[in-house]
Symmetry: C2
Subunit: 641 residues, 2 copies
Amino acid sequence: MIVRSQEFSIVILFRLLVALIIVATSTLVSLSNPLFAEDGVSKRPNIVWIISEDNSKHYLKHFDESGTPTPAIEAMARHGVTFDRAFSCSPVCSVARTTLITSCYAPRIGTQYHRALKQAEMPANVSMFPKYLKDAGYYTTNNAKEDYNAVKTDGVWNESSRRADWKNRPSNDTPFFHVQTIHTSHESQLHFSEADMQTPNKTSSDEVDLQPYFPDTPLFRYTRARYHDLIQKVDDQVGKLIEDLETSGELENTFVFYFGDHGGVLPRSKGYLFESGLHVPLVVRVGDNVKHLVDRPFGSRTNGFVEFVDFGPTTLTLAGVDVPTEVDGQPFLGDKIDASEVDRRDEAFGHADRFDEKYDLVRSLRVGNWKYIRNFDPIYPDSLQNNYRYNMLAYQQWRQLYQDGELTPDQSAFFESKLPEALYDLETDPHETNNLATEPRYRSQLIEMRDRLTQRLMDMPDLSFIPEAYLIDEAISQPVAFGQTHRDEIGELIRIANLALRPWNEAKPELKAALDSEDPLVRYWAVAAATSFGDQAESIKHEMEERLVDMEPIVVARAVEFFTTTEFDDLKQGAEPLSFLYRSISRATSEAEALPILGTAVFVNDHCDDRFPLDMKQVKLIIPVVPNSELERRMKYLGSL
Amino acid sequence: MIVRSQEFSIVILFRLLVALIIVATSTLVSLSNPLFAEDGVSKRPNIVWIISEDNSKHYLKHFDESGTPTPAIEAMARHGVTFDRAFSCSPVCSVARTTLITSCYAPRIGTQYHRALKQAEMPANVSMFPKYLKDAGYYTTNNAKEDYNAVKTDGVWNESSRRADWKNRPSNDTPFFHVQTIHTSHESQLHFSEADMQTPNKTSSDEVDLQPYFPDTPLFRYTRARYHDLIQKVDDQVGKLIEDLETSGELENTFVFYFGDHGGVLPRSKGYLFESGLHVPLVVRVGDNVKHLVDRPFGSRTNGFVEFVDFGPTTLTLAGVDVPTEVDGQPFLGDKIDASEVDRRDEAFGHADRFDEKYDLVRSLRVGNWKYIRNFDPIYPDSLQNNYRYNMLAYQQWRQLYQDGELTPDQSAFFESKLPEALYDLETDPHETNNLATEPRYRSQLIEMRDRLTQRLMDMPDLSFIPEAYLIDEAISQPVAFGQTHRDEIGELIRIANLALRPWNEAKPELKAALDSEDPLVRYWAVAAATSFGDQAESIKHEMEERLVDMEPIVVARAVEFFTTTEFDDLKQGAEPLSFLYRSISRATSEAEALPILGTAVFVNDHCDDRFPLDMKQVKLIIPVVPNSELERRMKYLGSL
């Protein structure tokens, strides 16, 4: 019995100890976590994202002098924080939105192509972040655009449709996360006809400033003025949403983010890694009742860099929900976030891959006011055909004026081959028209930026060095794991691609060896790198000619680009470079394989000289062309359908 | 009026002159053409072809001591002529029958593949020859097999079906040409089961002679005995057809040809260019009333060589109809044909290409008793899988005995790689088991035969040097014209292929250059030729490795054969030879392109060593596999379907 009694006492004591620990922990949590009010009832903040489509920060006077007034957004800013350095990671919708919803860099997780020919599986242990909110009791709604390039996981939204509304939450006590997309500023709204131009804009064409790379024509002025009108309408809509929150009494319990989903939407913005494509407006209105979660005064601005990968983590942090360790972003607001640390952030990564049917692999890194762009397909001009883009009259006119020889060099650059690298000083050159990459005095800056970007691509690793067709075939069910397993191989591909940046005599022996590799992707990148040397690469002409008969159609297409952009079109046995292109097109076994090759065909047709007249009749596919597919778009443009 | 009267007289005189010329010409024709009897009424001979399927001359005692008696055929011979040297040009049905109906060598007119994946258009100015008979008033009937690899032209037959019967001709005065095919001896009749073997044959197994290359087993003896029974049945059917003609009173107005459509049908006959595959029985019974057209006595035999291309011209000549100049054959019977000239003919050409799903390009030339065979795919054993062929138990048993190591060298040869050339002295080696090609004392004979065959292939030109897929794509609508236009290129391909026959050190520099050609077919033949050198070709291993990544899947497949039949499987970057084979299979854009590559897969699987285990799961086609297609047969055999 004595023993029993002792046992009993020990059990009792242990239980008391456990209870005490539980109570103490709970108390500590409620004391330290401001999401719980003094009475212990949850007062977690609501979070609302208002996303306007296709607009960079440049068109809002709140950010740029030449922009238009946006009183509602400005009012948000007065009651919140303005982020002067907010960046979409991608200048196109589906990729940008996938980045927002996953908090991951798209080229790391295989969602970088607009739009996905096959959606990637989400990384292991990562859900689209609203799921974490929903699991934590939030009511999550999306109205309405999704456009994800990843397979949507279960339990992300309570409602995602045009009916999605935070007001439908089960109880007024339920905190909510709501996303509202405003379509008003979307590219399609600038697809007006010449007849439409009879209708005057509210904004006068005379009063708009035109970017220096545009021809100063009534059409361009009309287009920009019209876009100002659209931004004003966006602002009205933002104002109404704020009003709605206010009416319901939730505004002061809410963080309202207003931002653009990526840049746009005059030419040379959406689809490009210039600031006009990536640099978005971001204003976060902070409700009075939740302001203790943010250590920035109302009306403040910051130059700290924030990227789309950070938006999810920030939202989770504001809601007091853990951020999964496997995502790329980091929060920039929240009670544990040090504003001064955010202010010091100064780096933003950008990526461009395929936009609809058009491929052009570009990566960018902005560090402070330095912008570095790496063109992995430098022979392609920025103007390379994308059917949707050229719906805009301004695009059409710009091209026509180029063809007519009526443009200044800065205005013409868009239609000409690029250098493999660009370096811009945004302080003095906000429009990125003065490439400093070739200037010796910026050499060390260039190398520093190049190395920094390269390291990021290798660390990621960037899956775009595995061409899309291969990625779909081999990796789309687990892109991240694939990337981890193939980190070294991808690093080697990046190294080969970057031979383009070395002096020819240094690059040559490695290129020569790489052209002869058994690995098709090594050959692919070796051909691409060699092509960027142009006529300089004469001494490996023979090795390049070998690649015209390569087993991989995309390698052939790249080799064709070499021969159609150099003087070396005198092939063995009098063969014609284009005959290999036709053959490679017929050899393509999937849409993802055919598309870049058709891109070569378009490039040759539109941008190479008269030695290479494309014979549309010989452009024949063995694979079916699905209606409304990217393939159909390319075939239609080529007149082969 | 005077003028008018003079004009009138001239017109009258001119008309009279024309009438006179017409009458005179007609008279001359009826006088000089023995097809018109003295009373001027047409008595043109009837011609009947009786064709038994799949039998060489060796099984008829009339031709070979070890054959079976065929009293009906022997009776025909007593009332006609026996051709001891009659040859099908091809050892398979559709090709042989196309040769018969076109009078053209199949590889010249694009009809050499059994069966055509796409039928060739007939050569310009050539019709299937019964049309000429029909146009000349003959009643033409075919009962019933056609199986042509060319597009059938209009007006060939009055009736071609199982109902086709010369007795349906419009009038008894109408001469007829009738073709009757006897299916009794067809290969399928030897597709018996083990249970069927309980039924004894009429012919005793003990009394048959087995060819020396066969294992002497009860099954082989049973098979041969059963075949003797079948030949006897054929003979009965021939007898009935003769009787039928006799009953109707037409026999003596008729030339009756009896022949086999090609050799067969024990193993190593149908499908092979040995005598067992090509050498057919031919007896022509000559009706009493038409014997003036032939200058050979009843019961005579000739060793003059006749080939299938000659059968149409002979038939036309007997009917008094002109032979088109564009055909390859020449008549061997007829009133203008000199028997002694025919007796001196001593050359027969043979060709083997694809049989169903199995490719193996072989050409042969028999001159007198010398037989020369050129194997353009020497690494393929004769036993290479053809699903239909292996339905026969004897085939299965023969293979099993080989695998069990129970065969003599002569019996094993069928299952082993061939030499590029074979030379047989048929006088001493009627079964073609003793290849004299490597014996120095026959060197000059070998070279002479080689040169003679090569010259024939070049003169033709032989379209099989353009692989089937290319032929279908580029030439099938006018193969002969294509051949004429590309004579030099084809000659060059033959030259490259024949580098295989030169000493390695002589061949090497040309092979090396050819491997690097822009012309895929030059590369194709260069790889094939190099492969026949085996390990000797070590010094061009690198150039061969390049071809593993060739744009053309069939070139890749040939290169894979090189690496799976030599020691050189240590590829760059540790690549696996078979990985290129899989890739080339997936790259094939048509059945004709996929088939030979799958042939390589079968070859590797069945005949290469353990270093190369084929992974069926990686054998994937992008093109659809049509039910009952050759492609389906191959895929099924590979277990990939």
